[in-house]
């Protein structure tokens, strides 16, 4: 009885809300009809897209255009109207190089060092993200004790601010940090991780993988759970070894998810800034200086705010990211075509 009353009450509230919603929608009908009469049914989609387009134009396309304009101007002034036009000088200056594989032959050697570091970081970080996330997803997809707890543990770093992640690891890795204390207790000497170029890059990649793998693990876990279980049962009945099942069932069916993970991780890696900036400051020397940090330092933290050169570097980065996105689209379309 009580349950019926409760359902009856809920139903009444739902009916009331439904009525209010229909009435509200009814109010929008006259102006929409008027608009359709004015611009025609074929143009109505533009009316619906207009608010989003305006937002996008104001906060994405307009800054993009201003950025391109800045890259064609020089001097320390901020307002575009006060900046002298210099044509492609900033690009010439940025790209002038005897040998692109040797930054010391380039006019802007720090930019090319940053490009090289970013490429190295991206290569190893994305590779590690894919392998580690896949291994973790497979482990978490098995019947293990406290599965929910472990899933939460691996996802937790994703929720942390990149600055917090970098600071925590900085305290662990510094001369008198936790890791050196442990190494000292085990009889090893102290290692100065942040003054060795190799170690600094290793830890920049390690910390980044640690911080982001949870997100990619989640994508791959969803992909694994979408693979029909009967395929594995059939393989088991055929006495297929586990590695063969992995190579012939798991990998091919997980390929779309792996592609998404690789592309997302790639784009994020090229844009890396905050974690590495807080962890190593781009050092030692310029061993972990990344392209975005170069842009920030050139445009904002120098004595002379070289907005033009920074804008040229950011346009170059934008072109690279655009190329990566196009490659992703082509790859994913190729996959769709194949399946």
């Amino acid at each position: 009885m009580a349950g019926d009353r409760k359902r009856g009450g809920t139903g009444a509230v739902a009916d009331a809300l439904d009525g209010a919603w229909t009435a509200a929608m009814g109010l929008t009908e006259p102006p929409m009809r008027a608009l359709q009469r004015a611009i025609g049914a074929a143009r109505m989609p533009w009316a619906f897209l207009a608010p989003n387009l305006a937002f996008f134009g104001l906060f994405v396309f307009l800054p993009l255009l201003i950025d391109v304009w800045f890259s064609l101007t020089g001097g320390p002034r901020l307002f575009p109207s006060q900046r002298p036009y210099v044509g492609a000088d900033q690009y010439r200056h940025l790209l002038a190089c005897g040998n692109y594989l040797d930054p010391s032959t380039c006019d802007q050697d720090r930019f090319w060092r940053a490009v090289r570091n970013t490429a190295e970081f991206t290569l190893f970080q994305v590779g590690a993200i894919v392998v580690v996330s896949l291994a973790t997803a497979i482990a978490l997809n098995r019947r293990i004790v406290a599965k929910g707890f472990f899933r939460a543990v691996f996802f937790f770093p994703v929720l942390l601010s990149p600055v917090v992640v970098a600071l925590v690891w900085k305290w662990i890795l510094q001369r008198d940090g936790l890791l050196n204390a442990v190494l000292g207790a085990a009889g090893f000497g102290k290692t100065l991780f942040f003054v060795s170029p190799g170690w600094a890059m290793f830890w920049a990649i390690f910390v980044s993988v640690w911080a982001h793998m949870g997100f990619y693990t989640l994508i791959l876990l969803a992909g694994l759970q979408a693979i029909p279980a009967d395929l594995y049962e059939a393989a088991e009945m055929d006495r297929t070894p586990p590695w063969r099942a992995f190579a012939r069932i798991t990998l091919p069916l997980l390929a779309p998810s792996l592609l998404v993970v690789a592309v997302l991780a790639l784009i994020k890696a090229v844009q890396i800034f905050d974690e590495v900036f807080v962890l190593t400051g781009g050092g030692p020397g310029s061993a972990t200086l990344m392209v975005v940090q170069y842009i920030y330092e050139t445009g904002f933290s120098g004595v002379v705010q070289d907005f033009g050169l920074a804008a040229a570097a950011s346009v170059a980065l934008g072109v690279a990211l655009f190329g990566l996105t196009l490659a992703q689209l082509r790859l994913s379309r190729g996959k769709e075509g194949a399946t």
């Binding site: 020089g74 001097g75 320390p76 002034r77 901020l78 307002f79 006060q82 900046r83 002298p84 010391s104 050697d109 720090r110 001369r175 100065l192 942040f194 003054v195 170029p197 190593t280 400051g281 781009g282 050092g283 030692p284 020397g285 310029s286 061993a287 972990t288 200086l289 940090q293 330092e297 904002f300 933290s301 120098g302 004595v303 002379v304 705010q305 070289d306 033009g308 050169l309």
Partner: protein, 428 residues
Amino acid sequence: MDRRKLLMALALGAGLASGTPARAATELHMMWYSDGGEGQVMKDLLAGFEKANPDIKVTLDEVPYKAIQESLPVQLAAGKGPDLARVTNLGGLAQYYLDLRPDLKDAAYFDKNFGPFLAWMRKPGDTTSIPGIMTQLTVTGPFINKTLFDQAKVAVPGPGTTWDQWAKTVKDVADKTKTPYPLAMDRSGHRFMALAMSEGAKLFDDKGNPAVIDDGFKAAAQRIADWHKSGIMPKEIWGAVSGSTYRGANDEFKNGQVVMYFSGSWQIAQFAKTIGTDFDWQAVPEPCGPAACTGMPGGAALVALKTTQHPKEVARLVDYLASEPVLSEFYARSLFIPGHLGLASKGLDYKTDNPLAKAALNVFASDVATLSPVAYKMQGYGHNFIVFNAVISRLGQVVVGEIPLDEAYKRIADDIAQQIAEADKKKN
């Protein structure tokens, strides 16, 4: 009954009206960073100003030093900024300063007491503007951990000791006391210049343009490279970050990990406060080279900015803060070397019972008279921070073995020329 209620309400209203403090008509914003406790001293002084000037309210916006160096210039370039700010890049931001001369009560007082320092804040060719006042005059110089010398049973070298002798001595002390850092120097081109000028760097050509790379400069740069290679200087300070990022070794010194720390007079207040009785520290005379025994002068100034909408009120505030009683209280409580000639000649009664701090202040104050003329010229040069940053950025790369010294010299000269050209680029 009703009449009585009405009368009570009127009385209450009148009472409230008379008790309400006068609302300040003008609010001024002062952007401020602190090295030690000078922010609190400034707050106390501002309270006195507001009491005497109830129509003006001053808000002290305390920010990290990095915000002064990086955010303030962008704000000013965008035409948005505070009414006043405490800055150290005195000449580099000169285009944004407001000339207070027309609104000051007694401009001659400023000319007389801040004259040489006002030149540091002016644009080239400007000989008259009064943009602000010096909140401190600084001198770079070394501090030593005296307790470590005592433990190592090594005598503290006296005046006239060369950089090389100091390097050898502090290495000896560090080895005997197992201290990780024998010699630390702030990661700053400004600090490096003291060593360079002592080794004979001239820094300018005959026409007054920067010509940084010469034999004196190279001798100093070679020492920095060698000291890092031999472990006399720790790579964590100069090598662990990138570009022109500033890094101090004050925390390491306060933790007793450094035998000799080359920084400057602005560290005295925080050392007095935080080191306490943990160990004995002292400022020692400037180390010498073949050309000089010199540090670099510098300082911070409170400047009025063109972005203010209230120039007259800003001038009233600067008049108040520049007055001898107020400024002497500020310097004395903050433990700063005065950037006011009158107060410097009279001397200050520093408000500290810490004998180490008082002794250190005396050492730095006596260093002022012995600074190289080249040092004053570099401090007054409008693009000096371009020079400092180019030097530190490239020598940082040398320290970690990324580029050789010869390439660093070429890059330093190129960076300086390119950045000065960019800074001077204007629309025709």
